[in-house]
């Protein structure tokens, strides 16, 4: 065993994940005794002194005072036999950087390039997934289980699978279970049970949990994923799902369940009114074309939705009351707009929002929209992205329909449905001409928003879309 020993920050309470170094009581070069206090660490529960685990000489200190250190991370290295002369090359190989063995012991993959300045040697482990909520470092090197870093090999093995669709959502059983290079499938027993109940093959999933483990959400996502992820020969697999009674029973879980709960709650608590407005958006579409031609917008994704979002944000400024929440005995009117965009993803309907969208320039708004859509499509939308929405747009036009009567997301007072933009006969300057026309549908909470306010709000959105340049000049 190496004479240089690294001491990993243990879980000083019960289930703690990190601690702050308050003060080092020793310095590099100090000769210390067993159980001599070496460092004061403050955790969420207590400030405590840690006694030295070994006698010897302090070889390196990995974190300065004030640093917050994850449990399981090496904090000090001690030469347990300083009298034995200079340290051999082999023993110094891993120093003063925490050795690979110590990192393996806590099952954390080191992240390259993560250098904390001001430290001796500097490199800190990429300790964002401290799985060791247990009781201290192990003496023997931990058994190596597949770690995060191993997951890509699964992707590399993907070609053996039938459909090269993004792996996380494929519910199709993958026959070739040996496609997984790294070893066993990582999943907690309840998750395995769930997968079994839902008929999801764990081997076909890529986990999003710690160390690439498969989470409950992964399974539910796979179970509720639409048939799109399956091979395009739609009829056959669909038929296979029906039993003898020609009925299929789909468990209500995950996004579907959440959607159902939210929609029911909203539909039966907030009295909705829906109004419609059909608008000639030919000028707006031309304006978009001109925007796309501008050099600085060349790489930006410019969609009609961008103009609708801008219209909504400007109209909210003129009618702040629509951006509010019914809170029982009071109405909360918000000065910020977290603009929700309903997105159809393979997981189902999700409504991520753009935080404080009213402050963004058009360019920033375009970038935020693009990022939001891409994140949603990739299934990486975080809960934080989806919470706190204040007003929402649902772009049903992409499905080729004209409009709808959307249901309010809970806690919001208005939602705009944006229908398909079609070329229709339209009276323009006294003559019937083919024009680009769309229909807007605005649902609002009639407890807060009267017909007059709702109508004015919708009218303003329509005015902007009919002639964006004039509206901008008039309103801003």
């Amino acid at each position: 065993m190496s004479r240089i020993k690294e001491f990993n920050l243990p879980d000083l309470g019960e289930g703690l994940t990190e601690g702050e170094i308050l003060a080092w009581l020793v310095k590099v070069g100090d000769v210390i005794e067993l159980n001599q206090p070496i460092v004061e660490v403050e955790t969420a529960k207590a400030a405590v002194e840690i006694p030295a685990k070994w006698a010897g000489q302090v070889q390196a200190i990995f974190h300065p005072e004030g640093a917050t250190v994850e449990v399981g991370t090496p904090i000090i290295a001690i030469d347990t036999d300083p009298g034995a002369g200079p340290i051999e090359e082999s023993t110094t190989a891993g120093l003063p950087t925490p050795s690979a063995a110590s990192l393996a012991a806590v099952e954390i993959a080191p992240e390259e390039g993560m250098v904390e300045p001001g430290l001796i040697g500097g490199a800190a482990p990429g300790g964002r997934t401290a799985v060791l909520v247990g009781y201290g470092p192990r003496n023997a090197p931990a058994k190596r289980r597949p770690r995060k870093g191993v997951v890509p090999t699964q992707a590399a093995a993907a070609p053996v699978q039938a459909a090269p669709v993004p792996a996380p959502v494929s519910p199709a059983p993958v026959v070739n279970g040996t496609g997984r290079a790294g070893g066993p499938v990582l999943a907690k027993p309840p998750v395995r049970k769930l997968a079994k109940d839902l008929g999801v093959d764990l081997a076909a999933l890529a986990g999003s949990g710690p160390l690439g483990s498969i989470t409950r959400e992964d399974v539910q996502r796979a179970a509720s994923a639409p048939a799109a992820a399956e091979p395009l020969t739609v009829a056959a697999p669909a038929a296979a799902n029906f039993g003898a009674d020609r009925e299929q029973r789909i468990p209500v879980k995950g996004v579907r369940k959440l959607t159902a709960e939210n929609m029911s709650r909203s539909a039966f608590t907030a009295p909705h009114v829906t109004e419609f407005l059909t608008v000639d958006v030919t000028r707006a579409m031309k304006a978009l074309d001109r925007l796309r031609e501008r050099r600085e917008w060349r790489d930006v994704r410019v969609s009609p939705l961008l103009l609708v979002a801008k219209a909504v944000l400007l109209a909210v400024k003129r009618h702040p009351m629509v951006n509010s929440t019914w809170a029982g005995d009071e109405i909360v009117v918000k000065d910020y707009v977290n603009l929700g965009i309903a997105a159809a993803t393979e997981r189902g309907l999700i409504v991520p929002n753009i935080k404080d969208a009213g402050r963004l320039s058009l360019r920033e708004l375009a970038d935020a929209l693009t990022a939001l859509v891409q994140t949603a499509k990739a299934g990486r939308t975080s809960p934080a992205d989806m919470s706190g929405g204040t007003l929402t747009i649902t772009n049903v036009g992409v499905f080729g329909v004209d409009t709808g009567t959307p249901i309010l997301p809970p806690g919001e007072s208005a939602i705009l449905a944006f229908g398909a933009v079609r070329e229709l006969p339209w009276v323009h300057k006294g003559k019937v001409k083919p024009r680009l026309v769309t229909t807007l549908g605005l649902s609002f909470d009639h407890r807060i928003i009267d017909g007059e306010l709702g109508s004015k709000f919708l009218r303003d959105i329509g005015d902007f879309l009919a002639d964006p340049e004039a509206a901008l000049l008039a309103w801003t």
Binding site: F7, N8, L9, P10, D11, L12, G13, E14, L34, N35, K45, A46, A47, V48, E49, I50, P51, K53, G134, Y135, G136, P137, N139, K143, R145, G183, P184, P189
Partner: protein, 392 residues
Amino acid sequence: MAKGDPGVTSRGRRAAPRSKRAAAAGEPELVQLLTPDGERIESALGPDGTEYRVDFTDEEYRGLYRDLVLVRKLDAEATALQRQGELGLWASLLGQEAAQVGSGRALRTQDMAFPTYREHGVLYCRGIDPIMPLGLFRGVDQGGWDPNEFKFNMYTIVIGAQTLHATGYAMGVAMDGKTGSDDGEAVIAYFGDGATSQGDVNEAFVWASVFNAPLVFFCQNNQYAISEPLERQTRVPLYRRAGGFGFPGVRVDGNDVLASYAVTRHALDTARHGQGPSLIEAYTYRMGAHTTSDDPTRYRIASEVEAWRAKDPIARMKAFLTKQQIADESFFTEIDEQAKAESVHLRERVLAMPNPEPVTMFDHVYPNGSPELDEQRAQFTKYMESFEGSAH
């Protein structure tokens, strides 16, 4: 040790004067035989007039000192091991050594003890290897000593629950006809000041009282129920609670190993003779944290801790042994060396504790197994084997 039965008890008169020292300090009556300065008090009277005294040989005095020092040192080692990540948790007994060693040494071989999770000193006195509870706190076993072999029940984490277990056990002892003589059996239940607010403890008082159970309720009043001070537990001194339940109560200086011994020995003898339960409130102080997850500086002031440091149970014993020339510096050094060696030995054994095979969790659920459990075990074994290259 202390087989010479120095726990002499004799009924005195109620009019006899109490310990002047305790009265002068303005504290409730406190049975004390060794002052914080190491002065011996010949005898002390309890609230019911019982006279307490001890008559140890020099060897026995030195033995008590050795116990105190060893228990403290092993406890400190366990605390250090927790800080070093080798134990998940530790509940230190620092400051309470005298109450535990005194009461623990007062037990006779046949007596049964029901501990909390902090009775490391009593455990030591019962002859149990101090490594035993460390397996529990390291999370590698259930702390598995045989309670029948050592007459020391498993550590009980649930606050106060063991007082009911002890009451039932003691009632059983009485029903078995094992009381009523000098060789009778007695039972002791340990708990803290916080536990006195639990329903369990009050129920135990009721049952033990009305069934005249051969039971000693030994309350280590260390002044804090985690962070909650004693004044949030009671408006009267805890030992007086016993009166309402119909049995005697006494407060003893819990930092005085001699008085703790004398009071416990008397209460046990009362119980073993079929004279029913009693309550001992060992007035002491938890010098450390409630457990290693606790930070006592957040709820108590340093001056209070310092005041109690002056009443340290080991310092007063050392002062007494020195003054009486019962022991000299070489003895103290020898004890310190022994304690250090034992703690190092303890550390080595803790570090060498093997992690149990996960499947062993099924081993002691039923004495003869069960079909359902066997199936679970088989499933679990299969699951563990599904890990590639697994050594499980």
